[in-house]
Amino acid sequence: MALITDYLVQGGQMLLILLLAPLLTGWIRTLKAQLLRRRGPSPLQPYRDLLKLLRKDVVLADSASWLFRVAPYLIFAAIWVAAALVPTFASGLPFNWAADLIAIVALLGTARFFLALAGLDTGTSFGGIGASREMMIASLAEPAMLMIVFTLSLLAGTTELSAVARFMLNADVGLRVSLALALLALVMVAIAENARVPVDNPATHLELTMVHEAMVLEYSGRHLALIELAASLKLLLYLSLLGCIFAPWGMTTAGEDLTAYLTGVAAYLAKLGLGGFLLALFETRIAKMRVFRVDQFLGMALMLGLLGALLLFVSRSL
């Protein structure tokens, strides 16, 4: 019985993130509009956009190969799985043994690989520019991400997220410099990975500066809907990751009663709302950086991650 409940909760979590992802994107857009004194669309607008796109026909470029058609499904699947692995409102769920940080990084890397391939596939110059920029960003963001993983695994003794979250909930973790550095680095990586200002502009009208939008320029209809949903899921994933590692308060463990689950969900929603607000505020206050500044930005994230890991070694040997 408990097993069935656990699987139900796990399934519920997977559905929850799928349903929440567009809302998070919409919430950030609404907040950004209001910060600019515009009324802005309703936070539900991304759902309408997705429905509209799903109903539309797919227009394929003549030069598109099978890869172009398959890529959206692969990307969506990889990111959904990755996002489902991150503990959101409860830890210790059935799939959590697989919720390994390195697995998540690998899944995201796979999705990015196919996205870049799809960008190149049609042979348009924008797709090429986008893919080349995306790869440049990825080649810097992934090492930084791995440094963060090392720091955490050194501290918690595991790369399994559920265990990391439980470790962080322990009162004796205390304030650690390494954790602060890892948090900063993870935020920077999250900004770069999700194509947010200052690395990319999600609301871009400038074809020459786009990164993510340039790669998906040729997509339409249900393909575009899947890619948009995957992008929303990825943003949700990173916010969940930040919440799970650095703010696991309110997270329940599997096997608790319904009230505990509900509290967990409420805490999770509050974390997402706050994260979205902070992101919107940050994006409003900063201009997009030059493309060639991105390496410095992510280099800093890498250095912070490295410093966090080194500090741990140093403090251990003392």
Partner: protein, 506 residues
């Protein structure tokens, strides 16, 4: 290198009667060549080059003396010595003459069509207007050679709501090796429409050449008509025109400052500046009945007088902007991430700016202190106190700052105009000379100096009118500005130029 003055050179030609306010001289090919040498030697500045059936006209200005003149070279055989051969700024103008009139510039380095993309029902619409022959071959872009270069075609349809224009980048990764523009997509045949139009229709057309410069174009057209017909308009009309021109400048500078920042994804600035611009447009509508002040300036005066509550509306507008604008300037200056994008981006060599005689914020941000309001001192600017801001950094940041300074100047000008506005009528009937006459005007729009030259028939209709947009000498510099920059910085450079597609394509 010739050291003759423009006056001395043109004295050898035959002056044309009834061309005002500056002389027009029919010249021989020898004088024409002397003029070309002078232009190439940067002794004189090219103001315009346009054609008519069998004649080409060249407007030049001598920087030292401020003398302005038009030289006309008859070319009965349809050929004229190329100006672009020695003076590159004339090349696109010559290609346009070849497209529209069918006059051939002999020795021109670039004979590709410019405005004519081969999709018009006629060839040489202002000349022989023959049916197009065979389908035109594809437009050859200039070759770029080197390893691992790739091309990025951008436009003519863009991702934002802007006018169409094609930009062909040749890049090595992100670094731009060459940018080549292709314009002409919004050619509307304005010069053809102006031919034979009544003054009323022509004034309306002139106000629609470039929507964002509607006051400037209407003003240039009206001044050219008044010069041709020797009409003196009342002082109040002059002052009201200046008021409208400054409102237009203010509105578009505010819009531009926000839009440039928005291209660096700093939408906050755009949001604030859009509010300012909206306030200005609403005040314009309340005072003169049109948000963009379209058809407000007409030959002979202005269409509407300032209403009784107008001065109060405008004074409170100025006071409001004086309060809201400085914090925005501080925000621009203190946002390091934004400064990082604008400073040293899109640098244009001052020597190029001088050579192209580039006006407006592009010219003045690059050290060329030409402002038609000051240089020509047309009324009422001869009685107003204002400064012509000048910078030498010539980058995106410089062009933003130049606009900021001009906003402050325009605010001061509006206040002065409101204080000193003379009373009296706001328009007169134009003189009917009963003979063909020619007029010309050079005025300062928000984008730069606009030249309008026209000839009126004896019945008062327009025989030929040529409006020259400041963008003619700004667009080519954008190609130079992006050199050495990265592809992703092009939107910032482009927006800081904000060239007119419509005014250029005619």
């Amino acid at each position: 290198m010739n050291t003759q003055s423009l006056q001395a050179v043109l004295d050898a030609g035959h002056p044309v009667a009834d061309h005002r306010p500056w002389p027009r001289v029919v010249v021989t090919p020898e004088i024409w060549n002397t003029l070309i040498e002078g232009l190439a030697g940067n002794v004189w500045t090219l103001l315009g080059l346009w054609g008519e059936t069998g004649v080409v006209h060249l407007a030049v200005r001598e920087e030292a003396s401020g003398m302005l003149s038009v030289a006309s070279l008859p070319c009965p055989d349809g050929c004229f010595p190329s100006v672009g051969r020695r003076h590159p700024p004339a090349q696109r103008l010559e290609r346009t003459i070849a497209d529209l009139m069918g006059l051939h510039p002999v020795g021109a380095p670039d004979v590709r069509p410019w405005l004519d993309h081969g999709r018009w029902p006629v060839r040489h619409p202002l000349g022989a207007a023959t049916a197009p022959a065979s389908p035109v071959p594809p437009y050859p872009f200039l070759p770029v050679e080197g390893e691992s270069l790739h091309q990025i075609p951008v436009g003519p349809v863009h991702a934002g709501i802007i006018e169409p224009g094609h930009f062909r980048f040749t890049a090595n990764g992100e670094a731009v090796a060459r940018l080549e523009q292709r314009l002409g997509y919004v050619h509307k045949g304005i010069e053809g429409l102006l031919k034979g139009a009544s003054l009323e229709q022509a004034a309306q057309l002139a106000g629609r050449i470039s929507g964002d410069s509607t006051v400037a174009y209407a003003l240039a057209f009206a001044r050219a008509v008044e010069a041709a017909t020797e009409t003196e308009i009342p002082a109040r009309a002059h002052w009201l025109r200046a008021l409208m021109a400054e409102l237009e400048r203010l509105a578009h500078h505010c819009g531009d400052i926000g839009a440039i920042c928005n291209d660096a994804a700093f939408a906050l600035m755009l949001a604030h500046c859009a509010v300012l611009r909206e306030q200005i447009l609403r005040a314009s509508a309340a005072c003169f009945g049109h948000r963009l002040l379209m058809d407000s300036v007409i030959p002979g005066g202005v269409a509407t007088d300032l209403p009784a509550d107008g001065p109060d509306i405008l004074q409170s507008l100025v006071t409001g902007i004086r309060r809201q604008f400085p914090p925005l300037v501080t925000l621009y200056d203190n946002t390091a991430s934004l400064q990082d994008r604008t400073v040293k981006t899109g640098f244009v060599k001052p020597a190029l700016i001088r050579q192209f005689g580039c006006g407006g914020y592009v010219g003045r941000a690059g050290g060329r202190a030409f402002d038609a309001r000051r240089a020509l001192g047309y009324p009422p600017y001869d009685e107003l106190k204002f400064e012509v801001p000048l910078r030498t950094d010539s980058d995106v940041n410089g062009r933003v700052w130049l606009r900021i300074c001009e906003v402050e100047q325009s605010l001061a000008l509006i206040e002065q105009i409101l204080q000193k506005l003379p009373s009296g009528p706001v328009g007169v009937a134009l003189n009917a000379l009963g003979r063909p006459c020619e007029g010309m005007a050079l005025i300062e729009g928000f984008r730069g100096d606009i030249l309008v030259w026209l000839r009126l028939n004896s019945d008062g209709t327009v025989a030929r009118c040529h409006p020259r947009d400041p963008s003619w000498f700004q667009w080519p510099l954008l190609e130079a500005a992006i050199e050495g920059n990265i592809v992703a910085d092009f939107p910032l450079c482009n927006k800081s130029f904000n060239g007119s597609y419509s005014g250029h394509d005619l």
